[in-house]
């Protein structure tokens, strides 16, 4: 497996706060790789380090086999991008193409504007663009020069549902048809599950879990009974092994045959059960398990 992005004991400290804490990670070439984590888990810091925007405090990082900060044909979009407001969408791409030293193929800019759905707005100044349009233009900018790898931080942020679907399709097409390696961070776990092949989950600057999405979900333990109750901690303690208390429910690993007996026992203990249903494990379950239920952003 060839790694396109790596870190080895990478630490970035801001005063006493460690945004990244001895993180070791290798992102394989090809496909779509997701980086997840709650607020302050170090996702953006990691991306900024790979892109050479910030310097690590200690440890190493590599990008396509070399150190970060060396000019390369990589595309990137960090958070919602901003552009000089007096330029048109086309002007932005012309400027970035020159600034990046890309000669560009004839029609490349038109093709990119079309691909992100901005053809009609190509002559409009970006000062009037919505957040979603900025996002689309940012993706077009990241794709300038046909990069072999694209790093996207929250690529669907600020987009409407149609835009999110289009972006998901674009990301998959880039990976599957154009052979571009995509590395993205997103707090929309459903989207990540749909689009990513592998994910890394960061928590407090450390690697909490890493692997193929299907494997991680499988490891999280298949189908579980979700009991919506008032005192989740007490109920989980009553059930014992296989029970996991969440803020508003208890997840229980057991067979369907054992479920009626459990519900009868809890009712006998005076527990009010407001809802009982079977839930399949998903990336959200993995995420909650690995990060202790913190917000994905």
């Amino acid at each position: 497996m060839t790694a396109i992005l790596t870190t080895l004991n990478l630490t970035k400290a801001y005063g006493s706060v460690r945004a990244l804490d001895a993180l070791t990670l290798a992102v394989p070439e090809g496909g779509v790789y997701g980086v997840l984590g709650p607020n302050g888990s170090g996702k953006s810091t990691l991306f900024r380090t790979w892109l050479g925007l910030i310097r690590p405090t200690s440890g190493e990082a590599t990008v396509l086999g070399g150190p970060p900060g060396t000019p390369r044909r990589i595309g990137s979009m960090i958070e919602t991008p901003r552009f000089p407001p007096f330029l048109t969408a086309r002007g932005v791409l012309e400027w970035l193409s020159l600034e990046s030293g890309l000669k560009g193929e004839a029609g490349e800019i038109d093709g990119l504007l079309d691909r992100v759905g901005l053809t009609e707005a190509s002559q409009r100044k970006v000062r009037g663009f919505s957040v979603g349009m900025h996002q689309r233009l940012g993706v077009a900018a990241a794709l300038l020069g046909r990069p072999s790898m694209v790093i996207l931080d929250e690529p669907t942020s600020g987009m409407d549902p149609n835009g999110i679907n289009e972006m998901r399709a674009l990301i998959r097409a880039l990976a599957d048809q154009d052979g571009v390696s995509i590395v993205l961070a997103s707090h929309q776990l459903v989207e990540v599950q749909k689009v990513c092949d592998r994910v890394a989950i960061l928590n407090r600057g450390r690697l909490a879990a890493e692997g193929k999405v299907a494997d991680l979900i499988g490891d999280a333990g298949g189908e579980r009974l979700r009991l919506q109750v008032a005192e989740t901690a007490r109920v989980a303690a009553l059930i014992g092994a296989g029970a996991e208390a969440q803020p508003d429910a208890v997840l229980v690993s057991l067979t369907r045959a054992d479920a009626p007996a459990l519900i009868r026992r809890l009712a006998g203990e005076g527990i009010d059960i407001f809802e009982a249903r079977w839930v399949g494990a998903d990336l959200e379950a993995v995420f909650m398990q690995e990060t202790g239920g913190q917000d994905a952003r």
Binding site: G52, R55, G69, P71, R72, S76, P85
Partner: protein
């Protein structure tokens, strides 16, 4: 790579039409209008016998190019330099370009773009100013003269043009340093203005006494360096038959170079080591 980055900076600067006009084109136009108004006033007010006095075009040209780096030009060029050097912090666009291009070439492209347009400004001001003087002289029926030997004229014209240009570059360098250190557009303009006031006061507090061994003042105070550099390079006589000593002239040129290095070199040094996480 550098040529592409320069083209990119030019594209972005020239499409920022309002800033581009005020920074680099307004002063030449103002100089043109002022010269026309002055000529019209003289035409209306002066008696005919005074109006037809000969016009020395060599002197007109040297004077026009020598005054092209004046306070007004410097002040407005600060805006152009601030947009170039602080724009990427304001629009948070460093994150778009630094992963694909070297920081050195990005910074040098900005410096080169500023230097190029500053030179255009100086040439426009000097040319338009001298052109109006020439046209005015023709309209008044003045005799056009050229009372300088060709070699001396070329030397003086090049010298005053160079020093006027360096005056603008000095301003641009201070903006580059302030912009990278503070990451703020406002500070990129206000800090150099404060520095200019301070250096002007310093220049008046420590005047250079003719004949005294005061090379340090010329070396360290940019106003002195520019004044003495202009006289030295132009080969202007300080006393009849006497030009500036080479040691004084070299101190002046070293002073100009030091101040350009402090500005642009300091800005580049900071930029190369800077975290661009929050532009």
């Amino acid at each position: 790579m550098l040529a592409d980055a320069i083209a990119a900076e030019n594209l972005r600067l020239t499409r920022n039409r309002a800033t581009f006009f005020w920074a680099f084109l307004f002063v030449p136009l103002l100089a043109l209008v002022a010269e026309i108004v002055g000529r019209a006033f003289m035409h209306a007010e002066l008696p005919a016998e005074l109006r037809v006095l000969p016009v020395d075009m060599a002197d007109q040209l040297v004077k026009a190019f020598g005054e092209a780096g004046g306070a007004m030009t410097v002040l407005l060029s600060l805006a152009g330099a601030a947009v170039l050097f602080a724009g990427d912090y304001r629009w948070e666009t460093w994150r778009l370009v630094t992963p694909r291009a070297s920081r050195t070439s990005l910074f040098l492209a900005k410096a080169t773009t500023f230097a190029g347009w500053a030179l255009v400004t100086v040439i426009l001001i000097g040319t338009l100013d001298a052109m109006v003087a020439w046209i005015g002289g023709l309209m008044d029926g003045s005799r056009m003269t050229f009372e300088m030997e060709a070699g001396a004229f070329v030397r003086q014209l090049l010298a005053v043009t160079l020093v006027s240009w360096v005056q603008l570059l000095f301003a641009g360098g201070l903006v580059a340093l302030a912009a990278t250190a503070t990451r703020s557009m406002i500070a990129a303009i206000m800090v150099p203005i404060g520095a200019f006031i301070g250096l002007f006061l310093l220049q008046n507090r420590y005047p250079v006494v003719e004949g005294a061994e005061e090379g340090w003042k010329i070396l360290l105070i940019p106003g002195h360096a520019l004044d003495y550099g202009r006289v030295y390079l132009a080969g202007i006589e300080t006393l009849p038959g006497q030009t500036l000593a080479a040691s004084v002239g070299l101190a002046a040129m070293a002073g100009m170079l030091i101040w350009l290095l402090i500005g642009f070199g300091g800005g580049l040094a900071i930029f190369l080591r800077q975290d661009l996480s929050k532009e």
